[in-house]
């Protein structure tokens, strides 16, 4: 079943944003894709949305409020606690991966430099969270 709940992409790098959006669209997903370009903006978007997104694709390296802090605040908020969050980042640092899961990330995906791999990864992510995964109502 296709859910029409939106996907929130938190990404400050416009190149990555463009490539990610392009990859997601390759699957013909109909879901609205909201883009926040900083941690603060992501929190604002969540605050203002009456219906929560089906997934948050969260980059770690963000200005002002870094990705892990955004994740911590989401998990600390009663309304957002069960919101699926996928860390989509360039870092393969063990420290980041460990801390991400510690804070309650649902998944940790390293953006491949290889374009084919990147497209495949992102499109599968979109498909999984927007289509296959059954979110909490």
């Amino acid at each position: 079943m296709t859910s029409l709940r939106s996907i929130l992409l938190v990404e400050d790098n416009p190149d990555d944003e463009a490539l990610t959006l392009r990859a997601l669209r390759r699957n013909n997903l109909q879901n609205e894709i909201m883009v926040a370009r900083s941690g603060q903006e992501a929190l604002d978007v969540l605050n203002q949305s009456t219906v929560l997104p089906c997934v948050v694709l969260l980059d770690l390296k963000l200005p002002k409020i870094p990705g892990l802090e955004v994740l911590r605040r989401i998990r600390a908020n009663d309304r957002w606690r069960s919101l699926p969050v996928v860390l989509l980042t360039s870092s393969k640092e063990e420290r980041d991966i460990a801390e991400g899961y510690e804070l309650g990330a649902n998944s940790y995906v390293c953006k491949p430099v290889d374009f084919q791999q990147f497209t495949a990864a992102v499109s599968q992510l979109g498909l999984y969270w927007a289509v296959i995964n059954e979110p909490l109502v």
């Binding site: 990555d16 490539l19 980042t89 360039s90 393969k92 430099v113 374009f115 990147f118």
Partner: protein
């Protein structure tokens, strides 16, 4: 006493009728030359008194004096008193000459002076003790005046009014005394007896043929008896004399007789006193009458009480024996030497200490035994003794009988020609002192080298004692001596003074050791760090009496500690920077790559029809380079992770790691013929994940550089170099030129081009980094087309 007491009575009578001094002059007397022996002179007194009875009766004469005249010159006079004195003298009379024993006359009067009334009065008032010589104008002796002759003259004027005449000269006793026996009359010279009595001597007179023997009252009194208590007979003294001494007297008498008087009769024998005490008597006598056959007819003599002298002699003998005993038993070396430096006497200690018997030394020169190096000092000491100055605590080395030397300390006292010395063997003490001095020097040196001082603090007196090094550490002038406790506090940094005081007070209170670091301020303003340690010391009754401790200069340590802290901080900062750098690389360098790659692909996909083949080739090149850049970044990150990761040492089996890596590579390229030679248990001590990276890199390299050979051999092994476990991985591949060996381990350094052997040039740099982190070393050996061997060492397992 009786004689002396008379003059007061006399004085009155003399005043009434003054006798002429002429009447007191004795005109007959005995004269001898100085060559006469003393014995003969004494004999003359006695013989003249007995054999000249008739002569005596007719002439005023004197028998108690013998004048000694040398060619008309009056030398002196020998009196009965002298004889008595001589008989009490231990020196044998034979050894004395007349000159030695005679007394000078009390005075010499000219004949003409006899009429002088003043002289007469003077003499009558106080009669002379010794005789007065009367001489004529030629100084020839013409007469003599004695105390007795004056008495006689006075007595004559009192008993008869007529002037004394020569026929009336029987000497009279001035004081009445009961007579013991009729033999008394035989004594023609009562004065002698009087004198004997006075000096507590006794007189005897033995008529040998009829065996009568007169014993004077003094004789008897000497043994505690009154005159009448003992009969006048030889048995009397024979009963009183010690039985064992009787033969001495008898033998002496026989010899005297046998030698016709030449052999003197002179014995010192013991008598029993009435009280039971022992009386020593000097018994001197002489046969004075002989018959024609040479048999003795009469013998006279005297007894002199020499008990006191004998007692003194005995005591002296005892004292001498005591001294002798001390001399013999003394443990110290005792000797008597002369100032010329020759031994006279030594005691037995010389044998026990130095090995010499007294006979070895006596007569030898003292200096012959002195160590050559001490000779000069010893000669100087002897010179001092020559000046009659005592020498004390003089030490020299003295040769033993066995040739070794011992240290001897001398105390010497000169006395005239002799040196009395006591000495002591102080070799052991010396050696101990030397050892002690040596230890002190060692300790001082050790303290100086270690920068460690020692101190003591006496709690009762507050006295502080410092070793030299403490002065040096705290920068205090040693001539000032150690400070008081209060002053000590001021030597420390103001911020540390209270702390130090507190710690010391607390240590004393709880009686426990303490250990603290302090800063001390030198007078020049410099600061030193010290570690002060103290321990309580208790006396026998468990009372805390002292603190003793050390002071260690830890300035250098403190400085290096500070430096180390600084370095550590710098290192931590570098690590943080490295971390931040790596983090940034992994994010920020990848994003543009992704964009380049991504948009290139987007171009190809979205505008596919507009690109010709050449354009596609260019896009491929872009992608290849992006991929390569990505590999470089990944390898760099791996390298940085190697430097940053925490290490955990365990036992690691390198054989297994190599086998796993080869297996992995074989799955990728199963067609390759590669032989792996690995002993089953090559084990190392290190961080497992880092060592895995080392083995992976090295095996991958070996795999890679053998890829152009149809078959290959890769070997893992272990050898030992300089004690550290050394490992190697060897291949038989492309190898390298040893000229470039230095480049092998540099980051991004490559010896082959990409088309030959792909790679980033980070692998060996990573290996080197890991081995260094383990404290090991890594190096390579190889030759072109002859393979390469990479060696590395790791620490020994604990």
């Amino acid at each position: 006493m009786k004689l002396v007491s008379s003059p007061s009575a006399l004085e009155t009578s003399v005043n009434l009728t003054l006798p002429s001094l002429q009447s007191a002059v004795v005109r007959v007397f005995t004269v001898v030359t100085p060559a006469t022996t003393v014995l003969d002179a004494i004999a003359l007194m006695a013989t003249s008194s007995t054999s000249s009875k008739d002569f005596l009766a007719s002439e005023k004469c004197d028998l108690n004096h013998v004048w000694v005249i040398d060619q008309d010159h009056i030398l002196g006079v020998l009196t009965v008193s002298d004889v008595v004195r001589l008989s009490a003298n231990p020196v044998a009379l034979q050894q004395l000459s007349l000159r030695q024993v005679l007394s000078p006359p009390q005075a010499v009067l000219l004949e003409s002076a006899l009429a002088d009334r003043f002289i007469t009065a003077d003499l009558l008032k106080s009669p002379p003790v010794a005789p007065i010589a009367v001489v004529d104008s030629q100084q020839h002796l013409t007469g003599m005046i004695t105390r007795e002759s004056i008495w006689a003259a006075i007595a004559a004027t009192q008993t008869t009014s007529s002037p004394p005449s020569g026929t009336q000269l029987a000497p009279q006793h001035p004081v009445d005394r009961p007579e013991a026996s009729p033999e008394r009359s035989r004594l023609s010279t009562p004065w002698v007896e009087k004198i004997f009595d006075t000096i507590l001597a006794g007189y005897w007179d033995w008529a040998i043929p009829d065996n009568h023997e007169y014993l004077s009252p003094g004789f008897k009194r000497m043994f505690g008896y009154a005159d009448h208590e003992l009969p006048n007979a030889p048995e009397t003294w024979q009963n009183l004399i010690f039985p064992e001494d009787l033969p001495i007297v008898m033998t002496s008498f026989e010899r005297h007789v046998a030698s016709h008087g030449q052999e003197p009769f002179n014995n010192e024998v013991r008598y029993h006193h009435k009280s039971g005490a022992t009386i020593w008597v000097n018994c001197v006598g002489r046969v004075v009458d002989w018959d024609e056959q040479g048999q003795p007819l009469r013998m006279i003599g005297c007894h002199i009480d020499i008990t006191q002298r004998k007692q003194a002699e005995l005591e002296m003998q005892q004292a001498k024996e005591e001294l002798e005993n001390f001399f013999l038993v003394a443990l110290d070396l005792l000797c008597i030497a002369d100032v010329q430096g020759y031994f006279r006497r030594v005691n037995r200690a010389w044998e026990t200490i130095l090995g010499y018997r007294p006979t070895d030394l006596e007569g030898q020169s003292f200096l012959d035994f002195v160590h050559p190096d001490d000779l000069e000092a010893t000669v100087n000491a002897i010179a001092q003794l020559h000046k009659q100055e005592a020498v004390q605590s003089f030490v020299n080395r003295y040769r033993c009988r066995d040739g070794s030397y011992r240290y001897i300390e001398w105390y010497s006292q000169p006395k005239g020609e002799l040196i009395y010395a006591a000495a002591r063997d102080i070799t052991a003490q010396r050696e101990l002192e030397m050892k002690l001095r040596q230890r002190e020097a060692h300790l001082k040196t050790a303290q100086r080298i270690a920068g460690l001082g020692s101190w003591e603090f006496d709690l009762a007196t507050g006295k502080i004692t410092w070793s030299e090094e403490v002065f040096a550490i705290l920068g205090r002038d040693p001539t000032l001596g150690p400070p008081s406790y209060e002053e000590l506090l001021t030597l420390y940094h103001p911020d540390d003074q209270e702390y130090h005081d507190h710690v010391v007070q607390e240590a004393v209170r709880i009686q426990q050791p303490y250990d603290l670091d302090l800063r001390a301020c030198h007078p020049d303003g410099s600061l030193v760090y010290v570690q002060a340690r103290g321990e309580p010391i208790f006396n026998a009754s468990g009372k805390l009496v002292q603190l003793v401790g050390t002071l260690l200069d830890i300035t250098e340590r403190k400085q290096s500690e500070a430096q180390l802290l600084q370095t550590s901080a710098q290192l931590a900062a570098s690590n943080d920077e490295l971390e931040a750098f790596a983090y940034s690389v992994s994010h920020d360098l990848r994003a543009p790559l992704r964009a380049i790659e991504g948009f290139s692909q987007a171009l190809l996909e979205d505008y596919d029809d507009r690109f010709d083949d050449m354009a596609r080739v260019y896009f491929d090149r872009i992608c290849t380079n992006v991929q390569r850049m990505n590999d470089l970044i990944n390898d760099l990150l791996a390298l940085s992770r190697v430097s940053r990761s925490e290490m955990t040492y365990t036992q690691v089996n390198l054989s297994e790691l190599a086998a796993e890596q080869i297996a992995e590579l074989r799955t990728i390229a199963p067609a390759r013929q590669v032989e792996l030679v690995v002993p089953s248990q090559v084990k190392a001590w290190g961080d497992a994940s880092l060592l895995r990276i080392v083995i992976s890199n090295l095996v991958q390299n070996a795999w890679k550089f053998t890829q152009h050979h149809p078959t290959a051999r890769i070997e893992l092994g272990q050898c030992d170099r300089n004690g550290s476990p050394t490992y190697f991985i060897r291949d038989d591949g492309a190898g390298f030129d040893m000229a470039h060996v230095d480049m092998l381990f540099g980051v991004f350094q490559r010896l082959h081009n990409m088309s030959e052997f792909p790679g980033t040039g980070v692998g060996l740099a990573t290996v080197k980094r890991i081995v260094h982190r383990h404290g090991g070393e890594v190096w390579a050996e190889g030759a072109i087309e002859q393979g390469a061997t990479i060696y590395f060492t790791l620490p020994t397992a604990p």
